[in-house]
């Protein structure tokens, strides 16, 4: 059941009608059932794994709370991490590990039988596992109290707006929200509808329009010249931003209508002027998770520069592998880690603030950030490292771009024009969100403008959006 489907619309409207009509005691039960129905609509067996993760983390947190010794707390924490990471490793990484062992053995002439399990990857497992691990660690470090009400905790793990692709929430932020009664609030409804509308616009009018072009070129990169590769690289950068931030907006909007507040996951990352700044604005819930639960425990930036560099490299390598069991994701993470290390070293040694004015610094910083980010997306999107290098190699051989090819890839004249208009709208809105938020707020206060903007947005999506079950890119993680 995708957010961008009529099926979800019917599900959500029905759910809201029931949810808001209920009393305090029954609201959590209905929300939990709805979350499991939503999740199990992909595959019923996925629900078992979600329930297992919930039960394990709920129980181990209570064990930590009841333990009188530090050793007991630690044992419960280790048990929770072992089970959570064990499940994740089995369903997501085991086959990758086996394939690499077989490949490595083959290099030395050994033939190992293929024991790959071929398990289906449960949707959103990386997201809800990390959310659960975050809770376990928060309880262990006494940042939050262990939740005693199973129903409350089960809602926290399975909350359907953010279950499949985040934002990865924190227990301290979400658990109190599941303990209160939720009533329909018109300001929340307004804000939620606009978030959903803007998210659908990004997904259906931009991401899904450029998706076929990117897919076509990346499916057989050796067949296209450098000009098409460059086009695909840029379009994928647009696609993944619109797809993922669009999803996050819809997730926040649906939660908001229900009276819940989810954290902001994106803050116009392509307007940033350094890689460090980019990572404060891209997939914020994941990068802050890694900061709090890996980077800081490793020592963060408190030690020497070498130690900080090591910590950054570890965090980004793990972040790469978190995305998927493939060397392309690892390469993406390592590239970003290296970029951040170089950026820190350059900032320390070159002291550019002494000899470059702020505007020039920002312009150079933007080009640097974009170069690393775009190169990273090549690894991220390519189906193999070999294909990624085909893309990099062909970027040196530019040739003409033919309209016939663009059309065949799905960008005929009107689609091209409308994509330009959609990107312009996105740019204007994102620019204001990043640099002129007060102006947007002032527009929101105008009497009929929000209503008019709402109608315009709805018709723009209806007339120029792609309808059809196009999955979100981050569902695969």
């Amino acid at each position: 059941m995708l957010f961008n489907s009529f099926e979800f619309l019917a599900f959500f409207v029905t759910f809201l009608a029931i949810f808001f009509g209920l009393r305090k005691r029954t609201q959590p039960i209905v929300l939990l059932i709805a979350s499991y129905v939503f999740y199990m609509s992909w595959r019923p067996s996925f629900g078992l794994l979600l329930a297992l993760t919930t039960a394990v983390d709920y129980t181990t947190a209570l064990m930590m709370a009841r333990s009188r010794t530090d050793g007991g707390r630690k044992a419960a924490m280790v048990l929770a991490l072992t089970i959570n990471l064990g499940i994740l490793a089995t369903v997501k990484y085991l086959d990758f590990f086996i394939a690499n062992v077989i490949g490595a053995a083959g290099l030395f002439g050994y033939v190992i039988p293929d024991y790959a399990l071929g398990l289906a990857l449960p949707l959103g497992i990386s997201f809800y596992t990390f959310q659960s691990i975050g809770y376990t660690l928060d309880v262990y470090y006494r940042k939050v109290e262990a939740e005693r009400d199973f129903l409350t905790y089960a809602q926290y793990v399975s909350f359907f707006p953010q279950l499949i692709a985040g934002p990865i929430e924190r227990a301290a932020h979400m658990l109190p929200q599941f303990r209160t009664v939720h009533r329909l609030s018109f300001p929340d409804l307004n804000a939620g509808l606009f978030l959903i509308g803007f998210g659908l616009f990004k997904k259906m009018c931009i991401a899904d329009v450029v998706g076929p072009v990117v897919n076509g070129i990346y499916a057989a990169p050796e067949q296209y010249s450098g000009s098409y590769q460059l086009l695909a690289v840029i379009l994928f950068a647009i696609q993944i931003y619109c797809d993922f931030s669009g999803y996050s907006d819809i997730a926040r909007g649906t939660a908001r209508i229900m009276g819940f507040d989810l954290m902001i996951n994106f803050r116009q990352p392509y307007f940033t002027c350094s890689l460090n700044e980019f990572w404060r604005c891209w997939h914020i819930s994941l990068s802050s998770w890694f900061r709090d639960y890996l980077f800081i425990p490793l020592g963060g930036s408190r030690g020497s520069e070498w130690r900080t560099a090591r910590n950054l490299m570890i965090v980004f390598a793990v972040s790469g592998i978190w995305h998927g069991a493939a060397w392309t994701f690892a390469a993406w993470g390592v590239l970003h880690g290296t970029g951040l290390v170089l950026e820190r070293a350059f900032a320390r040694t070159a002291k550019v603030e002494l000899w470059l004015n702020p505007t020039t610094r920002r312009v150079f910083g933007w080009f640097w950030m974009m170069a690393i980010v775009l190169a990273g997306w090549v690894f991220f999107r390519s189906t193999s490292l070999a294909n990624a290098f085909v893309v990099f190699r062909s970027l040196g051989e530019f040739g003409p771009v033919s309209y016939g090819t663009l059309k065949m890839l799905g960008l005929a004249s009107v689609e091209l024009l409308m994509l330009g208009v959609s990107l312009l709208i996105l740019f204007v809105v994102d620019f204001h969100l990043a640099f002129r938020p007060r102006r947007l707020e002032a527009l929101g206060e105008m009497r009929w403008l929000p209503t008019g903007a709402g109608v315009a947005l709805a018709y723009y999506i209806i007339l120029f959006g792609i309808f059809g079950h196009a999955e979100f890119i981050y569902f695969q993680f």
Partner: protein, 347 residues
């Protein structure tokens, strides 16, 4: 990374109208009244726009893309008028998608096959299903002796239930908002006919009439961007693969096949597969052993495969990467006529 801020407020929400700050200052009743007023205005404006676009869609049919005009004309006019004469011994209906729409010239085939042979091009642009138009023709009393397919039936074993239809967002959106393509069609129409709008409106009607007069053949001029409607001789696309052949996969189990066989038995026509077409270099030529193939797939009703799965032609016979120009259409039809004559099925 090390000093990641936790954002506090998202200005996107501010677009949704009164923020929480403002909301807190208003009484709940006032809020409700304002919201209901806004929702009412939203519904009114939304409905007004819907009505305006629906009216434009109905009143300006010439804005619709050529594919829709052609499909509508075939459904509403061509197959509903008497298609065959009593003396026609062979009554042929040829089905396919837009490639065949532009490649098969029914009148040319009739001329080559001799008297008492009458054929129609019932290919539909952007559409691989042939049963709806065949059923429409049969319902109007137009019974063929032969149904020739260029693309096979689909492999769906079951008919789509209501749940599947509800999951078909594209179809659902098209039903709720039939004018969905109107703005892009209008933009394209205006762009292509900037200085001759009145003539362009007449052209649409002329093309429609010409298509009916040509028994369904239609040259897709709007997609032709090369001089004389000919692709350059060395034209190629990055996706071309001259080493890969493209055999047709004809599914054994198919609801469409069951239905077609039922209709064939009921109306006594035969079914045949005839070759489609590709551009040279786009795919590998069909194996030579297939060139003179005549295979019976079924005896009751008779389903035959005539010749190879496809013919291959030089780019100069194409107006765009997929569709043939009028010269190409003559060449394809002529080759098809030779194949049908050689089969002996129409002696």
């Amino acid at each position: 990374m090390s000093n990641l801020p936790r954002p506090a407020v998202d200005a996107t929400e501010a677009l949704g109208g009164s923020g929480e700050r403002d909301a807190a200052n208003r009484s709940s009743t006032a809020q409700t009244r304002i919201w209901i007023a806004r929702a009412g205005i939203f519904v009114l404006v939304f409905s007004a726009v819907w009505a305006a676009l629906a009216a434009a869609y109905v009143l300006l049919p010439f804005l619709r893309p050529g594919s829709v005009v052609i499909a509508d004309a075939k459904f509403d006019t061509l197959v509903k008028m008497p298609m065959f004469e009593p003396q026609d011994r062979y009554r042929i209906m040829v089905f396919g998608h837009s490639k065949i729409l532009s490649a098969f010239r029914a009148r040319d085939l009739d001329a080559e096959m001799g008297p008492h042979f009458r054929s129609y091009n019932l290919a539909l642009p952007g559409e691989v299903r042939f049963l709806p138009i065949l059923e429409a023709a049969l319902a109007a009393g137009n019974t063929p002796t032969h149904v020739l397919l260029t693309i096979p039936w689909d492999d769906k074993a079951e008919v789509d239930g209501p749940a599947a239809l509800l999951r078909d967002d594209n179809r659902l959106a098209g039903t709720l908002f039939p004018f969905r393509t109107l703005p892009r069609d209008a933009a394209l129409f205006l762009f292509q006919n900037q200085e001759r709008l009145a003539e362009a409106v007449r052209d649409v009607e002329a093309q429609r009439s010409a298509m009916i007069d040509d028994r369904g053949w239609y040259f897709i001029k709007s997609q032709s961007h090369y001089p004389d409607d000919r692709l350059p001789a060395d034209y190629s696309l990055p996706t071309d693969n001259a080493a890969r052949s493209q055999p047709r996969f004809i599914s054994e189990r198919s609801r469409a096949r069951d239905r077609l066989e039922h209709l064939a038995r009921q109306h006594g026509f035969q079914v045949g597969f005839v070759p489609g077409l590709f551009r040279e270099g786009e795919v590998a030529p069909c194996p030579s052993s297939d060139q003179f193939r005549l295979t019976a797939m079924s005896e009751r009703p008779l389903i035959r495969v005539f010749g190879p799965d496809y013919f291959v032609y030089p780019p100069t016979l194409f107006a765009d990467p997929q569709h043939m120009n009028p010269t190409g259409a003559r060449v394809y039809t002529s080759e098809l006529a030779r194949l049908l004559k050689a089969s002996g099925a129409f002696d």
